[in-house]
């Protein structure tokens, strides 16, 4: 009998999803109730994950196809907390657009379930099932504001392109299965024969599929459209939570079965990283819509995360995880600001709408100032440390080219962040925005901003948590 305690959190969340679905069918006007229960479910799941797995070094289940280790628990907890925060700050937004429906929290829960399966996967099949579960939920979420043309367009675009990338991914899986005789990561790792170039093809196809999911250049085309078209709360979800899961899969896939083939995939990751950093920085300059801008900025940030992965060292993986964690906090803060730009039941999302914000909303603009400088990676804010760790790991492997290109692209990226700051602080003011925000929104903004601002006082804590990850 398998020790099902280890997957208790997944079991709990899937049972809750079914229960909530049934509840939604039988009880009328239950959207608020379901919303609150979902929040509770996410918190409870996080607690279970924390409890059940804190003293386990590494355990595998179901014929080695699911792995529970420190990394998986940590990433699950980040995912769950991220999803919780997204959900909690989006309620007002949903109500404004009259899409505060029972499906929304349930879809978020199911995509989170998919991500948790992905994070724990030690087998190509399990990984694919998790990926599809989260993607299917995300397609629907993207179209959630279905009365708006842009939202439907976003969902459709995401669906078509994502299906294509899933196809490539499956093709890669089948190639690897064909040449190693198994879909299990551990078995593949034993069967590896580095002279087999067809296996490399398999890796490339899977990397393409994964790169699509995290929107790394050149597989990023969907991101700006989908981010712009989706409801803002869903965009927030897109920019944060799926990236954590996809990154974990990225790490596990590259470092468990294929670490010996590092010569084959390292160049690919370096290319993806450099292309994402540069393209993200340059393409963001011309944007006028904040959500599109954030799409390009997130492409750039994924580039830095990949730079950590390209090192092939434990430090690199750890720095990537630190980076994505700090990035999630910064994004949460930024979107909290975005969700505050509301006037007469309408949300504003053009950069020009921020014009002169500092005169009417000094605190909000101060937070934005901190967040944007942090995104640009200026010390002493948290974003600088994220980049610092990445480049420390990169330079440890003497990858000077990657480091220099990466840091130069931060200068380019600084330009468009500065542009927003300029619009907020130096330009003429516009009408005031509403000041009555939900407590959760205020809390998440102030909490994340303070975290960004004061990170430099305790930089060791996060590293200590992450440094227990030893994937190699």
């Amino acid at each position: 009998m398998e020790n099902l305690n280890l997957v208790l959190s997944e079991i709990f969340i899937s049972l809750s999803i079914m229960f909530l679905l049934v509840l939604g069918v039988f009880k009328k006007d239950s959207s608020k109730l379901i919303f609150n229960i979902s929040l509770l479910v996410l918190l409870i799941t996080a607690t279970i994950t924390l409890n059940e797995t804190s003293n386990i070094n590494r355990a595998t289940l179901f014929n080695n196809s699911v792995v529970i280790d420190y990394m998986s628990s940590l990433m699950k907890i980040i995912t769950l907390i991220g999803a919780f925060l997204v959900l909690v700050i989006s309620s007002n937004y949903l109500k404004t657009f009259k899409i505060f429906k029972i499906e929304y929290p349930i879809l978020i829960l199911s995509s989170v379930l998919g991500m948790m399966v992905m994070i724990s996967s030690n087998d190509l099949m399990v990984f694919y099932i998790g990926l599809e579960l989260q993607s299917l939920a995300l397609y629907v979420l993207a179209t959630f504001n279905r009365d708006q043309l842009k939202s439907s367009e976003a969902g459709l675009k995401y669906f078509v392109l994502s299906a294509l990338s899933s196809g490539l991914l499956l093709y890669g899986c089948s190639l690897i299965y064909g040449f190693s005789g198994s879909t299990n990561f551990d078995v593949i790792s034993n069967q590896l024969n580095s002279t087999n170039y067809v296996l490399t093809f398999g890796i490339v196809f899977i990397l393409v599929g994964l790169a699509f999911k995290i929107s790394a250049v050149p597989f990023h085309m969907w991101a700006p459209d989908v981010y712009e078209g989706s409801p803002t709360s869903v965009t927030l979800f897109f920019t944060m939570v799926p990236k954590i899961a996809a990154l974990t899969v990225f790490i596990r896939f590259l470092y468990v079965p294929f670490l010996n083939l590092i010569d084959q995939w390292q160049m690919i990751i370096i290319f993806l990283s450099i292309a994402s950093m540069l393209f993200g920085a340059i393409a963001a300059i011309g944007q006028t819509n904040i959500k599109r801008l954030i799409a390009y900025s997130s492409i750039g940030h994924i580039g830095y995360t990949l730079a950590g992965l390209a090192t092939g060292s434990n430090e690199g993986v750890q720095s990537s995880i630190v980076y994505i964690t700090i990035y999630v906090i910064m994004n949460l803060a930024f979107f909290s600001c975005l969700l505050m730009l509301k006037r007469n039941n309408q949300y504003y999302e053009d950069i020009d709408d921020l014009s002169g914000l500092s005169k009417n909303h000094p605190l909000l603009s101060l937070s934005l100032l901190v967040i944007l400088f942090s995104l640009a990676g200026i010390p002493p804010l948290a974003g600088f440390f994220a980049k610092f760790y990445i480049f420390t790991a990169v330079l440890e492997q003497s990858m000077y080219f990657l480091a220099i290109v990466g840091l130069l692209s931060t200068v380019i990226a600084a330009f468009y962040y500065l542009r927003i700051i300029k619009i907020i602080y130096f330009d003429k003011e516009k009408e005031k925005y509403d000041g009555d925000h939900s407590l959760w929104l205020k809390f998440s903004l102030s909490f994340s901003t303070i975290l960004i601002l004061l990170y430099f006082i305790f930089p060791s804590q996060l590293i200590e948590v992450v440094s227990r990850i030893n994937i190699i």
Binding site: P362, L395, Y400, S460
Partner: protein, 493 residues
């Protein structure tokens, strides 16, 4: 002594800024904010004076060291001062309160926010000068960009956005390469602690590239020709207090960086690249002096003169002679006082006439005599008249340069003549001559606060001009030791 005096110097302005942050911002003359910030900075100044008094001059080792674990097992928060850095700290704490007094007349909107920016700036600048870890240094060095960007961008002149962006991006571009170098040093030597690095030395084969990476950052910040173009823009658009901070202290970070890091860590590379520095410095001295001659905007003229003066500084540093380096340090301190005063002088007439063009003035000597006298004093100090601190610096630098390279010294001496030319010509056109613009007759002479600030700056300028011993005594042992380490490292490798 266990009291963390340096950390309190760094923290105090931040605490003041936090306090201001929680006070209510009033429109117009916000006296609370002004008194709070003035109080904070004056206390900070007194602490730094205490630091100077209790500083042991006879040793070259770092003092008041604080060493705390910061990023575990990786980087320590380490600060300390030696004879070189202590003077810059005092310069910073001395100039900042004067800046705060000067905002009386210049800043009309959002005074509280402006003072917060200045206070935070002060804390970062002090941090730069006492950091004894490369990462800590970089952190403060870069962090200073944020408040300065806002100072130029929010309270600046009509072209402020362009200038603020140019300032920020130029400096950032230079600095990221330094970050690569710093992290590389960590992997090469296993530490970023400056004191340990001084002992260990850095492998000769890496030095050239690392030196260039540091150079790219310091050259932009100094600024050296040909990457000086951000400076005139930033100066012209920044509000007076911003220009003062920029000229008096920000530029000194790079000169300090050259002495502390380029010479201290990479002696072999410094030896190789000395001709490059000489060339760029000489070009800066002669070329920007010629540019300064042709300026019509007073602030721009002084900005270009700053570039020329910093050319002397870099020249002096890389002579690697006792006199040259001492001269450079004194020149930086003196330039800190004099350029601050000159920008304030421009600010004074600008506040009254709202024009910085030289041609709109002339013949004001009879209208505002007090101003004219003080302006005269600072003009003469800027051109290095004996009896002012400017002379000591330039003289020592040229003395060092003559020992090292005759040709360079001769050309640089030309710069002294040109410096006299543009400064005196500026003074002549603004203060003397016929009174053509009749609006000028309505000008009032210096008010109390302006008079106070300029006197405060004039006293040390003259005092150190006649009696530079306090400065030289402070730096002598440290500079001597620096040169000895430099030479021994050079032979060792």
């Amino acid at each position: 002594m266990n009291f963390p005096i340096l950390s309190s110097l760094i923290l105090l302005p931040v605490i003041g800024a936090l306090f201001l942050f929680f006070t209510k911002d009033k429109e117009g003359n916000n006296l609370t904010a002004k008194y709070v910030s003035l109080f904070t900075t004056i206390v900070n100044f007194l602490i730094s004076i205490y630091l100077w008094i209790s500083f042991e001059q006879s040793t070259s080792s770092f003092q008041f060291i604080e060493d705390r674990e910061w990023i575990n097992g990786f980087i320590n928060y380490k600060v300390g001062v030696d004879g070189i850095s202590i003077l810059f700290i005092i310069l910073t704490t001395f100039i900042t309160p004067l800046c705060i007094i000067s905002v009386n007349n210049t800043i009309k909107v959002r005074l509280r926010d402006f003072l917060i920016a200045i206070l935070i700036m002060e804390s970062f600048m002090i941090g730069v000068f006492c950091a004894l870890d490369l990462v800590v240094f970089y952190l403060f060095f870069e962090a200073g960009l944020i408040p300065m960007f806002l100072i130029i961008g929010i309270w600046g002149g009509p072209k402020r956005v362009y200038s603020a962006f140019k300032f920020f991006l130029y400096t950032l571009l230079g600095s990221v390469l330094m970050l690569v170098a710093i992290i590389s040093i960590y992997w090469i030597s296993g530490t970023t602690d400056v004191m340990k690095l001084y002992e260990l030395g850095i492998d000769a084969k890496y030095q050239n590239l690392l030196w260039l990476a540091f150079f790219s950052s310091f050259a932009v910040k100094t600024p050296m020709w040909p990457v000086h173009t951000w400076l005139p823009d930033a100066h012209v658009e920044a509000p007076t207090a911003g220009s003062v901070l920029l000229a008096a202290i920000l530029l000194k970070m790079a000169g300090y960086g050259f002495i502390r890091f380029s010479l201290g860590l990479f002696p072999i590379a410094s030896e190789i690249f000395t001709p490059l520095i000489y060339t760029l410095s000489v070009i800066a001295i002669v070329f920007t002096s010629l540019i300064a001659l042709m300026q019509e905007d007073m602030k721009k003229l002084i900005a270009y003169s700053s570039v020329a003066h910093m050319g002397f500084v870099t020249l002096g540093i890389f002579t690697i002679q006792q006199q040259g380096i001492e001269g450079s340090i004194i020149q930086m301190i003196s330039h800190g006082l004099v350029s601050a005063a000159l920008f304030l002088c421009v600010g004074v007439v600008y506040d009254r006439m709202h024009s910085r063009l030289i041609s709109s003035y002339g013949g004001i000597v009879t209208i505002i005599p007090k101003y004219s006298v003080l302006f005269m004093l600072f003009t003469l100090a800027a051109l290095g008249l004996p009896g002012t601190s400017g002379f000591i610096g330039e003289f020592l630098i040229l003395m060092g340069a003559f020992k090292d390279n005759f040709l360079v010294a001769v050309i640089a001496s030309l710069g002294v003549i040109l410096g006299a030319a543009y400064m005196l010509w500026l003074y002549k056109r603004v203060v003397f001559g016929k009174l053509i613009n009749t609006d000028l007759t309505k000008m009032v002479d210096l008010n109390k606060s302006e008079y106070f600030i300029l006197t405060c700056l004039a006293v040390p300028t003259l005092f150190f001009g006649f009696y530079p011993d306090p400065l030289i005594n402070t730096i002598e042992v440290s500079v001597n030791d620096l040169i000895n380490t430099y030479n021994s490292n050079l032979i060792k490798k």
